[in-house]
Protein backbone atom coordinates (compact mmCIF):
# COMPACT_ATOMS: atom_id res chain seq x y z
CA UNK A 1 0.00 0.00 0.00
CA UNK A 2 1.48 3.34 -1.03
CA UNK A 3 0.93 6.76 0.53
CA UNK A 4 -1.92 8.80 -0.80
CA UNK A 5 -2.16 12.59 -0.97
CA UNK A 6 -4.92 15.11 -1.54
CA UNK A 7 -3.87 17.01 -4.64
CA UNK A 8 -6.79 19.31 -5.16
CA UNK A 9 -10.05 20.42 -3.55
CA UNK A 10 -13.32 22.00 -4.66
CA UNK A 11 -16.61 22.93 -3.05
CA UNK A 12 -19.83 24.67 -4.00
CA UNK A 13 -21.70 27.06 -1.78
CA UNK A 14 -23.87 25.18 0.70
CA UNK A 15 -27.45 26.36 1.12
CA UNK A 16 -30.79 26.29 -0.63
CA UNK A 17 -29.58 26.20 -4.21
CA UNK A 18 -32.95 26.49 -5.92
CA UNK A 19 -31.52 27.19 -9.35
CA UNK A 20 -28.86 24.46 -9.36
CA UNK A 21 -29.54 20.84 -10.15
CA UNK A 22 -27.82 17.83 -8.61
CA UNK A 23 -25.79 17.29 -11.78
CA UNK A 24 -24.69 20.92 -11.88
CA UNK A 25 -23.44 21.06 -8.30
CA UNK A 26 -21.67 17.70 -8.60
CA UNK A 27 -19.80 18.82 -11.66
CA UNK A 28 -18.95 22.26 -10.27
CA UNK A 29 -17.20 20.78 -7.24
CA UNK A 30 -15.46 18.07 -9.25
CA UNK A 31 -14.16 20.46 -11.87
CA UNK A 32 -12.87 22.85 -9.23
CA UNK A 33 -10.94 20.00 -7.62
CA UNK A 34 -9.45 18.85 -10.93
CA UNK A 35 -8.34 22.38 -11.77
CA UNK A 36 -6.91 22.82 -8.26
CA UNK A 37 -4.98 19.56 -8.74
CA UNK A 38 -3.78 20.58 -12.17
CA UNK A 39 -5.04 17.20 -13.31
CA UNK A 40 -6.20 16.65 -16.83
CA UNK A 41 -9.33 14.54 -17.07
CA UNK A 42 -7.37 12.39 -19.47
CA UNK A 43 -5.38 11.18 -16.45
CA UNK A 44 -8.38 10.61 -14.22
CA UNK A 45 -8.78 7.00 -13.12
CA UNK A 46 -12.26 7.04 -11.68
CA UNK A 47 -14.91 8.62 -9.47
CA UNK A 48 -16.14 7.73 -6.00
CA UNK A 49 -19.33 9.58 -5.14
CA UNK A 50 -20.81 9.83 -1.67
CA UNK A 51 -24.55 10.39 -1.56
CA UNK A 52 -27.16 9.39 0.98
CA UNK A 53 -30.59 9.45 -0.60
CA UNK A 54 -30.76 10.56 -4.21
CA UNK A 55 -33.43 7.91 -4.84
CA UNK A 56 -35.86 9.26 -2.27
CA UNK A 57 -34.95 12.92 -2.68
CA UNK A 58 -34.65 13.05 -6.47
CA UNK A 59 -36.15 9.80 -7.77
CA UNK A 60 -32.68 9.13 -9.23
CA UNK A 61 -30.45 6.21 -8.27
CA UNK A 62 -27.25 5.13 -10.04
CA UNK A 63 -25.85 8.64 -9.83
CA UNK A 64 -22.10 7.98 -10.09
CA UNK A 65 -22.06 7.34 -13.86
CA UNK A 66 -24.60 10.15 -14.17
CA UNK A 67 -22.09 12.68 -12.83
CA UNK A 68 -19.29 11.36 -14.99
CA UNK A 69 -21.59 11.52 -17.99
CA UNK A 70 -22.54 15.13 -17.38
CA UNK A 71 -18.90 15.99 -16.75
CA UNK A 72 -18.34 14.93 -20.35
CA UNK A 73 -16.41 11.81 -19.46
CA UNK A 74 -18.74 9.01 -20.48
CA UNK A 75 -16.68 8.41 -23.59
CA UNK A 76 -13.70 7.48 -21.44
CA UNK A 77 -15.67 4.65 -19.82
CA UNK A 78 -14.17 5.22 -16.42
CA UNK A 79 -15.27 3.39 -13.26
CA UNK A 80 -17.71 5.35 -11.10
CA UNK A 81 -18.97 4.05 -7.79
CA UNK A 82 -21.59 5.48 -5.46
CA UNK A 83 -21.01 4.94 -1.75
CA UNK A 84 -23.72 5.23 0.90
CA UNK A 85 -23.57 5.15 4.70
CA UNK A 86 -26.18 7.64 5.86
CA UNK A 87 -24.60 10.94 6.84
CA UNK A 88 -21.14 9.39 6.55
CA UNK A 89 -21.49 8.71 2.82
CA UNK A 90 -18.95 11.36 1.84
CA UNK A 91 -16.24 10.09 4.18
CA UNK A 92 -16.94 6.52 3.17
CA UNK A 93 -16.47 7.53 -0.47
CA UNK A 94 -13.16 9.08 0.56
CA UNK A 95 -12.18 5.85 2.32
CA UNK A 96 -12.92 3.87 -0.86
CA UNK A 97 -11.05 6.37 -3.01
CA UNK A 98 -8.09 6.28 -0.65
CA UNK A 99 -7.95 2.46 -0.80
CA UNK A 100 -8.26 2.59 -4.59
CA UNK A 101 -5.16 4.76 -4.94
CA UNK A 102 -3.27 3.12 -2.09
CA UNK A 103 -3.76 -0.28 -3.69
CA UNK A 104 -2.05 0.87 -6.84
CA UNK A 105 -4.91 -0.07 -9.16
CA UNK A 106 -5.74 3.57 -9.79
CA UNK A 107 -3.42 6.58 -9.85
CA UNK A 108 -5.83 9.49 -9.70
CA UNK A 109 -9.41 9.47 -8.50
CA UNK A 110 -11.93 12.18 -7.77
CA UNK A 111 -13.87 11.68 -4.57
CA UNK A 112 -17.05 13.69 -4.51
CA UNK A 113 -19.93 14.13 -2.11
CA UNK A 114 -23.15 15.71 -3.22
CA UNK A 115 -26.70 15.99 -1.98
CA UNK A 116 -29.73 18.02 -2.98
CA UNK A 117 -32.12 18.10 -0.05
CA UNK A 118 -34.41 20.99 -0.93
CA UNK A 119 -36.14 19.55 -3.99
CA UNK A 120 -38.67 17.99 -1.57
CA UNK A 121 -40.55 19.79 1.20
CA UNK A 122 -38.93 19.78 4.65
CA UNK A 123 -41.30 17.26 6.24
CA UNK A 124 -40.46 14.79 3.48
CA UNK A 125 -36.73 15.46 3.76
CA UNK A 126 -36.87 14.94 7.53
CA UNK A 127 -38.63 11.62 7.07
CA UNK A 128 -36.03 10.59 4.48
CA UNK A 129 -33.10 11.39 6.73
CA UNK A 130 -34.72 9.38 9.53
CA UNK A 131 -34.16 6.37 7.29
CA UNK A 132 -30.52 6.47 8.44
CA UNK A 133 -31.72 5.34 11.86
CA UNK A 134 -33.33 1.94 12.49
CA UNK A 135 -36.55 2.27 10.56
CA UNK A 136 -38.27 -0.88 11.83
CA UNK A 137 -37.49 -0.46 15.54
CA UNK A 138 -37.00 3.27 16.04
CA UNK A 139 -38.71 5.32 13.32
CA UNK A 140 -42.00 3.41 13.06
CA UNK A 141 -42.50 4.08 16.78
CA UNK A 142 -42.34 7.83 16.25
CA UNK A 143 -38.62 8.49 16.71
CA UNK A 144 -37.09 10.97 14.28
CA UNK A 145 -33.34 11.38 13.83
CA UNK A 146 -33.24 14.46 16.13
CA UNK A 147 -35.42 12.60 18.66
CA UNK A 148 -32.85 9.80 18.86
CA UNK A 149 -30.00 12.26 19.41
CA UNK A 150 -32.22 13.97 22.00
CA UNK A 151 -32.51 10.66 23.88
CA UNK A 152 -28.70 10.56 23.94
CA UNK A 153 -28.55 14.20 25.06
CA UNK A 154 -31.02 13.65 27.92
CA UNK A 155 -29.02 10.70 29.14
CA UNK A 156 -25.76 12.68 28.89
CA UNK A 157 -27.35 15.42 30.98
CA UNK A 158 -28.57 12.84 33.49
CA UNK A 159 -25.24 10.99 33.82
CA UNK A 160 -22.77 13.87 33.59
CA UNK A 161 -24.69 17.03 34.42
CA UNK A 162 -24.28 18.50 30.94
CA UNK A 163 -26.53 21.54 30.68
CA UNK A 164 -28.79 22.97 28.02
CA UNK A 165 -26.53 26.01 27.79
CA UNK A 166 -23.45 23.84 27.24
CA UNK A 167 -25.18 22.20 24.29
CA UNK A 168 -26.15 25.60 22.90
CA UNK A 169 -22.55 26.81 22.98
CA UNK A 170 -21.72 24.47 20.12
CA UNK A 171 -24.17 26.25 17.85
CA UNK A 172 -22.93 29.67 18.91
CA UNK A 173 -19.35 28.60 18.15
CA UNK A 174 -20.26 27.11 14.74
CA UNK A 175 -22.02 30.28 13.62
CA UNK A 176 -19.13 32.43 14.81
CA UNK A 177 -16.80 30.36 12.61
CA UNK A 178 -19.14 30.35 9.62
CA UNK A 179 -19.52 34.13 9.71
CA UNK A 180 -16.12 34.14 8.00
CA UNK A 181 -16.91 31.36 5.53
CA UNK A 182 -18.30 32.62 2.20
CA UNK A 183 -19.48 29.12 1.29
CA UNK A 184 -21.56 28.65 4.45
CA UNK A 185 -25.32 28.13 4.42
CA UNK A 186 -25.69 30.33 7.51
CA UNK A 187 -23.33 33.19 8.19
CA UNK A 188 -25.30 34.97 10.93
CA UNK A 189 -23.89 34.98 14.43
CA UNK A 190 -26.07 33.56 17.19
CA UNK A 191 -26.32 34.38 20.87
CA UNK A 192 -26.67 31.75 23.58
CA UNK A 193 -30.14 33.09 24.40
CA UNK A 194 -31.26 32.69 20.79
CA UNK A 195 -30.20 29.06 20.73
CA UNK A 196 -31.71 28.16 24.09
CA UNK A 197 -34.91 30.06 23.31
CA UNK A 198 -35.46 28.67 19.82
CA UNK A 199 -38.49 26.49 19.04
CA UNK A 200 -38.38 22.91 20.29
CA UNK A 201 -37.68 20.05 17.90
CA UNK A 202 -37.21 17.13 20.31
CA UNK A 203 -36.44 18.28 23.82
CA UNK A 204 -33.81 19.24 24.84
CA UNK A 205 -32.83 19.97 21.22
CA UNK A 206 -34.34 23.03 19.60
CA UNK A 207 -34.29 24.32 16.05
CA UNK A 208 -30.87 25.93 16.52
CA UNK A 209 -29.35 22.77 17.99
CA UNK A 210 -29.94 20.99 14.69
CA UNK A 211 -28.02 21.27 11.42
CA UNK A 212 -30.09 22.52 8.50
CA UNK A 213 -31.12 20.67 5.35
CA UNK A 214 -28.75 21.96 2.69
CA UNK A 215 -27.82 21.45 -0.93
CA UNK A 216 -24.15 21.28 -1.81
CA UNK A 217 -21.22 19.36 -3.20
CA UNK A 218 -17.54 18.99 -2.42
CA UNK A 219 -14.74 17.09 -4.10
CA UNK A 220 -11.09 16.18 -3.66
CA UNK A 221 -8.57 14.69 -6.06
CA UNK A 222 -6.41 11.89 -4.68
CA UNK A 223 -3.15 10.64 -6.09
CA UNK A 224 0.07 8.95 -5.03
CA UNK A 225 2.11 11.03 -2.57
CA UNK A 226 5.24 10.11 -4.46
CA UNK A 227 4.39 12.25 -7.50
CA UNK A 228 2.17 14.78 -5.74
CA UNK A 229 4.53 17.70 -6.19
CA UNK A 230 3.76 17.70 -9.92
CA UNK A 231 0.22 18.71 -9.04
CA UNK A 232 0.47 20.88 -5.96
CA UNK A 233 3.04 22.73 -3.89
CA UNK A 234 1.23 21.62 -0.77
CA UNK A 235 0.32 17.96 -0.96
CA UNK A 236 -1.56 16.78 2.10
CA UNK A 237 -0.98 13.17 3.05
CA UNK A 238 -3.82 10.99 4.23
CA UNK A 239 -2.19 9.65 7.38
CA UNK A 240 -5.17 7.49 8.30
CA UNK A 241 -8.58 6.59 6.91
CA UNK A 242 -10.56 4.45 9.33
CA UNK A 243 -14.16 3.22 9.41
CA UNK A 244 -15.88 1.55 12.33
CA UNK A 245 -19.48 0.50 12.84
CA UNK A 246 -21.82 -0.20 15.73
CA UNK A 247 -25.43 -1.25 16.33
CA UNK A 248 -28.04 0.37 14.16
CA UNK A 249 -30.41 1.39 16.95
CA UNK A 250 -29.52 3.58 19.93
CA UNK A 251 -31.39 1.13 22.16
CA UNK A 252 -28.86 -1.62 21.40
CA UNK A 253 -25.73 0.37 22.15
CA UNK A 254 -23.45 -0.76 24.93
CA UNK A 255 -23.60 2.74 26.40
CA UNK A 256 -26.15 5.25 25.22
CA UNK A 257 -23.76 8.16 25.78
CA UNK A 258 -20.77 6.75 23.85
CA UNK A 259 -20.42 6.20 20.13
CA UNK A 260 -18.18 3.14 20.14
CA UNK A 261 -17.89 3.48 16.36
CA UNK A 262 -16.15 6.84 16.86
CA UNK A 263 -13.98 5.53 19.70
CA UNK A 264 -12.73 2.61 17.63
CA UNK A 265 -12.29 4.54 14.37
CA UNK A 266 -10.27 7.19 16.20
CA UNK A 267 -8.13 4.64 18.05
CA UNK A 268 -7.31 2.89 14.80
CA UNK A 269 -6.59 6.18 13.04
CA UNK A 270 -4.19 7.45 15.70
CA UNK A 271 -2.47 4.08 15.85
CA UNK A 272 -2.04 3.87 12.08
CA UNK A 273 -0.73 7.43 11.87
CA UNK A 274 1.41 6.92 14.97
CA UNK A 275 -0.01 10.11 16.48
CA UNK A 276 -2.11 11.08 19.49
CA UNK A 277 -5.15 13.31 19.96
CA UNK A 278 -2.93 15.96 21.53
CA UNK A 279 -1.08 16.31 18.19
CA UNK A 280 -4.19 17.50 16.40
CA UNK A 281 -4.51 21.25 15.94
CA UNK A 282 -7.62 21.47 13.77
CA UNK A 283 -10.62 19.15 13.57
CA UNK A 284 -13.88 19.06 11.67
CA UNK A 285 -16.21 16.91 13.76
CA UNK A 286 -19.75 15.66 13.27
CA UNK A 287 -21.96 18.33 14.82
CA UNK A 288 -25.28 17.46 13.16
CA UNK A 289 -26.82 18.18 16.58
CA UNK A 290 -25.11 20.10 19.34
CA UNK A 291 -24.95 16.94 21.47
CA UNK A 292 -23.21 15.13 18.58
CA UNK A 293 -20.29 17.55 18.77
CA UNK A 294 -19.86 17.13 22.53
CA UNK A 295 -19.97 13.36 22.16
CA UNK A 296 -17.45 13.58 19.31
CA UNK A 297 -14.91 15.46 21.43
CA UNK A 298 -15.17 12.79 24.11
CA UNK A 299 -15.20 9.74 21.84
CA UNK A 300 -12.35 10.99 19.63
CA UNK A 301 -10.23 11.22 22.74
CA UNK A 302 -9.92 15.01 23.06
CA UNK A 303 -11.69 15.19 26.44
CA UNK A 304 -12.63 12.75 29.17
CA UNK A 305 -16.08 11.14 28.91
CA UNK A 306 -18.69 13.43 30.36
CA UNK A 307 -16.52 16.56 30.38
CA UNK A 308 -17.15 17.92 26.89
CA UNK A 309 -19.88 20.31 28.07
CA UNK A 310 -17.76 22.35 30.48
CA UNK A 311 -14.59 21.96 28.37
CA UNK A 312 -16.25 23.33 25.26
CA UNK A 313 -17.76 26.17 27.24
CA UNK A 314 -14.28 27.08 28.49
CA UNK A 315 -13.24 28.11 24.99
CA UNK A 316 -10.64 25.38 24.65
CA UNK A 317 -11.90 24.51 21.18
CA UNK A 318 -12.23 28.05 19.82
CA UNK A 319 -10.05 29.85 17.35
CA UNK A 320 -7.37 30.50 19.94
CA UNK A 321 -7.71 27.23 21.78
CA UNK A 322 -5.32 24.30 21.72
CA UNK A 323 -7.54 22.55 19.21
CA UNK A 324 -9.82 24.52 16.89
CA UNK A 325 -13.01 22.67 16.14
CA UNK A 326 -15.10 23.21 13.02
CA UNK A 327 -13.47 26.34 11.61
CA UNK A 328 -15.78 25.94 8.59
CA UNK A 329 -18.82 26.36 10.83
CA UNK A 330 -19.48 22.63 10.84
CA UNK A 331 -22.64 20.89 9.76
CA UNK A 332 -24.63 23.34 11.84
CA UNK A 333 -23.60 26.54 10.11
CA UNK A 334 -21.64 25.64 6.98
CA UNK A 335 -24.51 23.31 6.22
CA UNK A 336 -25.45 19.67 5.94
CA UNK A 337 -25.88 18.24 2.48
CA UNK A 338 -25.68 14.75 3.93
CA UNK A 339 -23.52 13.01 1.32
CA UNK A 340 -21.22 16.00 0.88
CA UNK A 341 -20.26 16.84 4.45
CA UNK A 342 -17.56 14.19 4.86
CA UNK A 343 -15.75 15.49 1.78
CA UNK A 344 -16.33 19.13 2.73
CA UNK A 345 -14.72 18.46 6.11
CA UNK A 346 -11.60 17.26 4.30
CA UNK A 347 -11.67 20.26 1.95
CA UNK A 348 -11.65 22.57 5.00
CA UNK A 349 -8.87 20.72 6.81
CA UNK A 350 -6.76 20.56 3.65
CA UNK A 351 -7.15 24.31 3.15
CA UNK A 352 -6.21 24.90 6.78
CA UNK A 353 -3.12 22.66 6.51
CA UNK A 354 -2.09 24.43 3.29
CA UNK A 355 -2.38 27.81 4.99
CA UNK A 356 -5.28 28.87 2.75
CA UNK A 357 -7.66 29.48 5.64
CA UNK A 358 -7.63 33.28 5.15
CA UNK A 359 -9.37 35.01 8.03
CA UNK A 360 -10.34 31.67 9.57
CA UNK A 361 -6.79 30.28 9.42
CA UNK A 362 -5.90 28.09 12.37
CA UNK A 363 -2.36 29.06 13.20
CA UNK A 364 0.31 26.37 12.89
CA UNK A 365 -1.96 23.59 11.78
CA UNK A 366 0.09 20.61 10.67
CA UNK A 367 -2.16 17.69 11.60
CA UNK A 368 -5.89 17.77 11.08
CA UNK A 369 -8.75 15.36 11.81
CA UNK A 370 -12.15 14.87 10.22
CA UNK A 371 -14.96 12.91 11.86
CA UNK A 372 -18.14 11.87 10.08
CA UNK A 373 -21.06 9.86 11.43
CA UNK A 374 -23.89 7.95 9.80
CA UNK A 375 -27.30 7.80 11.47
CA UNK A 376 -26.99 7.95 15.23
CA UNK A 377 -23.55 6.32 15.18
CA UNK A 378 -23.91 3.04 13.32
CA UNK A 379 -20.98 4.25 11.20
CA UNK A 380 -18.10 6.55 12.07
CA UNK A 381 -15.27 7.55 9.79
CA UNK A 382 -12.11 9.28 10.98
CA UNK A 383 -9.46 10.72 8.71
CA UNK A 384 -6.11 12.15 9.79
CA UNK A 385 -4.46 14.50 7.35
CA UNK A 386 -0.98 15.95 7.61
CA UNK A 387 1.02 18.55 5.82
CA UNK A 388 4.17 17.12 4.22
CA UNK A 389 7.22 19.25 3.55
Amino acid sequence: MRDVAVLGVGQTKFGELWDRSFREIGIEAGLQALVDAKLSSADLGGLYLGNMASGSLLEQEHIAPLILDYAGLSGRHLPAVRVEGGGASGSLALHQGYLAVASGQYDFVVVGGAEKMTDVVEATANQIVSATADHEWEVVFGATLPALWALIARRHMHEFGTTREQLARVAVHDHEMASKNPLAHYRNKLSLEQVVGAGEVAEPLGVLDCAPLSDGAAAVVLGPLETAKRHTDTPIRIAASEVACDTMAVQHREKTTTLQSTVVAAEHAFRRARRAPSDVRVAEVHDAYTISALLALEDLGFVEKGKAGPEFASGRFGMNGSLTVNPSGGLKAQGRPFGAVGVAQVVEVVRQLRGEGKDRQVAGAALGLTHDVGGTGATSVVHLLERVN
Binding site: E136, V140, T144, L151, E200, Q251, T256
Partner: protein
Protein backbone atom coordinates in the same frame (compact mmCIF):
# COMPACT_ATOMS: atom_id res chain seq x y z
CA UNK B 1 -47.87 1.03 0.44
CA UNK B 2 -45.92 -1.69 2.19
CA UNK B 3 -48.15 -4.55 3.26
CA UNK B 4 -45.83 -7.52 3.80
CA UNK B 5 -43.05 -5.63 5.57
CA UNK B 6 -45.30 -4.59 8.40
CA UNK B 7 -47.39 -7.77 8.54
CA UNK B 8 -44.26 -9.84 8.99
CA UNK B 9 -43.37 -8.06 12.23
CA UNK B 10 -46.76 -8.18 13.96
CA UNK B 11 -45.74 -10.90 16.47
CA UNK B 12 -42.96 -8.56 17.56
CA UNK B 13 -44.87 -5.30 17.33
CA UNK B 14 -48.10 -6.55 18.91
CA UNK B 15 -46.63 -8.72 21.64
CA UNK B 16 -42.90 -8.09 22.09
CA UNK B 17 -41.89 -11.57 21.01
CA UNK B 18 -38.14 -11.68 21.44
CA UNK B 19 -35.56 -14.42 21.53
CA UNK B 20 -33.17 -15.89 24.07
CA UNK B 21 -29.82 -17.55 23.65
CA UNK B 22 -29.94 -20.82 25.55
CA UNK B 23 -26.18 -20.77 25.73
CA UNK B 24 -25.70 -17.55 27.69
CA UNK B 25 -29.36 -16.80 28.63
CA UNK B 26 -29.27 -13.30 27.16
CA UNK B 27 -32.67 -12.07 26.00
CA UNK B 28 -32.95 -10.05 22.78
CA UNK B 29 -35.55 -7.79 21.26
CA UNK B 30 -36.15 -7.72 18.37
CA UNK B 31 -35.38 -11.42 18.08
CA UNK B 32 -32.04 -12.51 16.64
CA UNK B 33 -30.98 -15.65 14.86
CA UNK B 34 -27.38 -15.38 16.08
CA UNK B 35 -26.24 -14.41 19.56
CA UNK B 36 -23.95 -11.36 19.48
CA UNK B 37 -22.76 -11.99 23.05
CA UNK B 38 -21.49 -15.57 22.82
CA UNK B 39 -17.87 -15.77 21.68
CA UNK B 40 -18.69 -18.26 18.96
CA UNK B 41 -21.63 -16.63 17.17
CA UNK B 42 -21.99 -19.39 14.63
CA UNK B 43 -22.48 -22.07 17.28
CA UNK B 44 -25.53 -20.21 18.56
CA UNK B 45 -27.52 -20.67 15.35
CA UNK B 46 -29.37 -23.65 16.85
CA UNK B 47 -29.50 -22.18 20.34
CA UNK B 48 -31.83 -19.19 19.89
CA UNK B 49 -35.39 -19.80 21.12
CA UNK B 50 -38.51 -17.59 21.19
CA UNK B 51 -38.89 -15.62 24.41
CA UNK B 52 -41.85 -13.59 25.55
CA UNK B 53 -41.16 -10.22 27.14
CA UNK B 54 -43.61 -9.09 29.81
CA UNK B 55 -43.79 -5.52 28.56
CA UNK B 56 -42.66 -4.18 31.95
CA UNK B 57 -39.80 -1.71 32.10
CA UNK B 58 -38.56 1.67 33.21
CA UNK B 59 -37.84 4.85 31.30
CA UNK B 60 -34.08 5.07 30.67
CA UNK B 61 -34.18 8.29 28.65
CA UNK B 62 -36.89 10.35 27.01
CA UNK B 63 -37.54 13.28 24.70
CA UNK B 64 -40.67 15.27 23.90
CA UNK B 65 -41.04 15.44 20.13
CA UNK B 66 -42.43 18.62 18.60
CA UNK B 67 -41.32 18.01 15.01
CA UNK B 68 -43.30 14.86 14.31
CA UNK B 69 -42.36 11.74 12.41
CA UNK B 70 -44.67 11.08 9.48
CA UNK B 71 -48.05 9.88 10.74
CA UNK B 72 -47.59 11.24 14.28
CA UNK B 73 -48.58 14.86 13.61
CA UNK B 74 -51.88 14.53 15.53
CA UNK B 75 -50.06 13.57 18.71
CA UNK B 76 -47.59 16.48 18.96
CA UNK B 77 -46.07 17.00 21.44
CA UNK B 78 -45.49 13.33 22.16
CA UNK B 79 -43.02 11.48 24.36
CA UNK B 80 -40.50 9.03 22.89
CA UNK B 81 -38.47 7.02 25.36
CA UNK B 82 -35.78 4.41 25.65
CA UNK B 83 -37.43 1.78 27.85
CA UNK B 84 -35.28 -0.72 29.70
CA UNK B 85 -37.35 -3.87 30.03
CA UNK B 86 -37.12 -6.03 33.14
CA UNK B 87 -35.79 -8.90 31.02
CA UNK B 88 -32.87 -6.79 29.82
CA UNK B 89 -33.46 -5.53 26.25
CA UNK B 90 -33.93 -1.82 25.67
CA UNK B 91 -36.71 -0.65 23.35
CA UNK B 92 -37.66 2.63 21.72
CA UNK B 93 -41.31 3.61 22.02
CA UNK B 94 -43.83 6.31 22.76
CA UNK B 95 -45.03 6.87 26.31
CA UNK B 96 -48.77 7.60 26.38
CA UNK B 97 -51.42 8.39 29.00
CA UNK B 98 -49.02 10.84 30.61
CA UNK B 99 -48.48 14.58 30.28
CA UNK B 100 -45.05 15.42 28.79
CA UNK B 101 -44.18 17.38 31.93
CA UNK B 102 -44.61 14.24 34.07
CA UNK B 103 -42.24 11.84 32.34
CA UNK B 104 -38.96 11.16 34.07
CA UNK B 105 -36.04 8.76 33.99
CA UNK B 106 -36.93 5.80 36.21
CA UNK B 107 -40.70 5.90 35.60
CA UNK B 108 -42.17 2.37 35.63
CA UNK B 109 -44.06 1.59 32.45
CA UNK B 110 -45.89 -1.32 30.83
CA UNK B 111 -46.53 -2.04 27.16
CA UNK B 112 -49.94 -1.24 25.72
CA UNK B 113 -51.50 -1.62 22.26
CA UNK B 114 -52.08 1.45 20.09
CA UNK B 115 -52.31 2.62 16.52
CA UNK B 116 -48.87 3.53 15.13
CA UNK B 117 -49.85 5.04 11.82
CA UNK B 118 -52.17 4.81 8.85
CA UNK B 119 -51.00 4.62 5.27
CA UNK B 120 -53.37 7.39 4.24
CA UNK B 121 -57.16 7.22 4.25
CA UNK B 122 -57.28 4.11 2.08
CA UNK B 123 -54.23 2.17 3.25
CA UNK B 124 -53.49 -0.36 5.97
CA UNK B 125 -53.50 0.71 9.63
CA UNK B 126 -50.39 -0.28 11.56
CA UNK B 127 -50.63 -1.18 15.25
CA UNK B 128 -47.94 -1.83 17.80
CA UNK B 129 -46.58 -1.26 21.27
CA UNK B 130 -46.47 1.97 23.19
CA UNK B 131 -45.79 2.31 26.91
CA UNK B 132 -48.08 3.61 29.64
CA UNK B 133 -47.35 4.25 33.31
CA UNK B 134 -47.54 1.02 35.29
CA UNK B 135 -49.17 0.70 38.67
CA UNK B 136 -46.88 1.66 41.51
CA UNK B 137 -46.05 -1.35 43.68
CA UNK B 138 -48.89 -2.07 46.10
CA UNK B 139 -51.02 0.77 44.73
CA UNK B 140 -53.88 -1.14 43.12
CA UNK B 141 -54.30 -3.38 40.09
CA UNK B 142 -52.03 -3.28 37.06
CA UNK B 143 -54.15 -1.37 34.51
CA UNK B 144 -53.05 -3.45 31.55
CA UNK B 145 -53.50 -7.15 30.93
CA UNK B 146 -50.69 -9.38 29.69
CA UNK B 147 -48.97 -9.63 26.34
CA UNK B 148 -49.77 -12.76 24.36
CA UNK B 149 -47.36 -15.64 24.80
CA UNK B 150 -45.17 -16.20 21.76
CA UNK B 151 -45.74 -19.67 20.35
CA UNK B 152 -43.23 -22.04 21.88
CA UNK B 153 -41.93 -19.70 24.52
CA UNK B 154 -42.15 -19.90 28.30
CA UNK B 155 -44.53 -17.20 29.44
CA UNK B 156 -42.36 -16.25 32.35
CA UNK B 157 -45.48 -15.52 34.42
CA UNK B 158 -47.69 -18.00 36.23
CA UNK B 159 -51.08 -18.16 34.57
CA UNK B 160 -53.71 -20.05 36.52
CA UNK B 161 -53.91 -23.44 34.87
CA UNK B 162 -57.21 -23.77 32.99
CA UNK B 163 -59.44 -26.53 34.38
Amino acid sequence: MSVARFWRETPRRYNLGGSKCTNCNTVYFPPRSVCPTCPSHRSTLEKMVPFQLSGDGTVYSFTVVHDAAEGFEMQVPYIVALVKTVEGPMLTGQVVDLAPADVKIGLRVRATFRKLREEGAAGVIHYGYKFAPAAEAGAGPEPRGRLAPVAGSPTGSSDRAPA
